[in-house]
Symmetry: C2
Subunit: 232 residues, 2 copies
DNA sequence: TCTTATGCTTGATATTTATCAATTATATGG
DNA sequence: CCATATAATTGATAAATATCAAGCATAAGA
């Protein structure tokens, strides 16, 4: 794996406080791979042999059961995924597939667990990361159980807008089919939900969303930092 | 707080590997409280001043939004709750109320964070705990998004049965109103769902459930270790 | 440019789930 | 033991969501 990638990975707070030599050791065992779009990287149930770090592209984390499939999260660079399975040395609970051409660093799980045992800073960083992710899944659960699909979409749009600078107009970064699955509805219903938000100040043109009435949409969506907040 | 409680708490794997003096220090700052049933211990949004350890009784973790309410988890003794908020020093995402008369140990969050900074064993135990809980919420999300309410109930019954010795007959340990909320449905629908499982070998008499045809129910429920497993 | 594949939308309909209202059980306190 | 409150069930209906079947865009390849 080229050393030129180290700084990017190092910037992740998971690795930023790690002792230099230990970080170098972790990287020595790691390797990079480039994947085309729509490749299934991981299948749920597999043993967790690698901690994955997405360097560029995008990855969809999803789950299957009884012939059905649902998208659970989108991974954007630079970010790790399936940390919990790696740490616990247990099978993946989610499958992963590339959404676009993606570059991914694979760090052997055994190395991660060793580093975790030996490096206190690293162990602390893992705690912070896991706690954060745990809280984020709780928020998703609240979103799912307390809101209708229309409300979920409205709040998704507001979150997405905030994350992208807050302008009234912005682009969806995923195709609508996956967005529907992520939000827990069918593509058909997502279409209808978009139209249903029209009266509350949402205009859709392909992937371009324009919030024409911020106040109105917020009035309908009732965003809550304990569900939609990035920080809390 | 009486020393007699130490062994029970110490038995939690979160604390079991902690250095003795540090554990004692943690306990010195802690105190016990007894609560009557239906007391709201924690309200989401509050700052996380204490790590809670349930010694006896039962606690419901739930969330509210826009006048709605949903049960997210049941805490049974002996077990900690709201660890992630404590560690991150961020507001609680869930509210908590006693389901029965409960005895709870409160450990100041600041003490927990100090111990976490200074005790490597403790930090590791926290990692294990958080990773476990994270995985458990992912399973819940899969359950919610991939299954219908009837399927969720069927699998809940099978899990509950397994956790209680595997006998064909067992008792529900929570009122049906809460079970409905936990499973993401209305009480009315839970009633109908129970009847709907009749043809698959489920008999209900008050809180007593009898699985009259294990094979049939499993055939319908299609339990999956990656959703329903305790271990994975 | 045309062709074709793919994703998105729309309408009609079915299914699932929720709501409302009433009734029946079950438990609790006097 | 009765009176009363609370929980659970049932039936009727409404709302939300999914499914099925076309039809319309959009983009990629011939």
């Amino acid at each position: 794996m080229p050393d030129s990638l180290h700084p990017e990975i190092r910037r992740l707070h998971l690795f930023s406080d790690m002792a230099e030599d230990r970080f170098a050791a972790l990287m020595r065992g790691a390797y990079v791979q480039n994947f085309p779009p729509q490749i299934e990287l991981i299948t749920e149930g597999d043993s967790s042999d690698f901690l994955h770090v997405l360097i560029s592209g995008a990855v969809d984390l999803f789950a299957r059961w009884n012939g059905r499939e649902s998208s659970l999260a989108t991974v954007r660079p630079v970010s790790t995924f399936i940390l919990a399975a790696t740490i616990r040395d247990q099978p993946y609970l989610m499958s992963a597939r590339t959404m676009e051409k993606s570059r991914i660093v694979l760090i052997p799980s055994q190395d991660v667990r060793s580093a975790f045992e030996e490096d206190v800073q690293f162990a602390r960083a893992i705690v912070a990361e896991l706690a954060q992710r745990y809280r984020s899944t709780i928020k998703m659960q609240k979103d799912l159980k307390l809101r209708s699909s229309l409300e979920r979409l409205a709040n998704y749009l507001l979150r997405h807008q905030a994350r992208n600078g807050g302008d009234a107009a912005f682009e969806l970064e995923t195709d609508k089919r996956r967005l529907a699955s992520y939000l827990g509805m069918t593509p058909e219903n997502l279409s209808r939900a978009f139209r249903g938000l029209g009266p509350y100040g949402v205009a859709v043109e392909g992937n371009r969303i324009t919030i024409t009435d911020q106040t109105d949409l917020e009035g309908f969506a009732k965003p809550d930092p304990l569900i939609d907040g990035d920080l809390t």
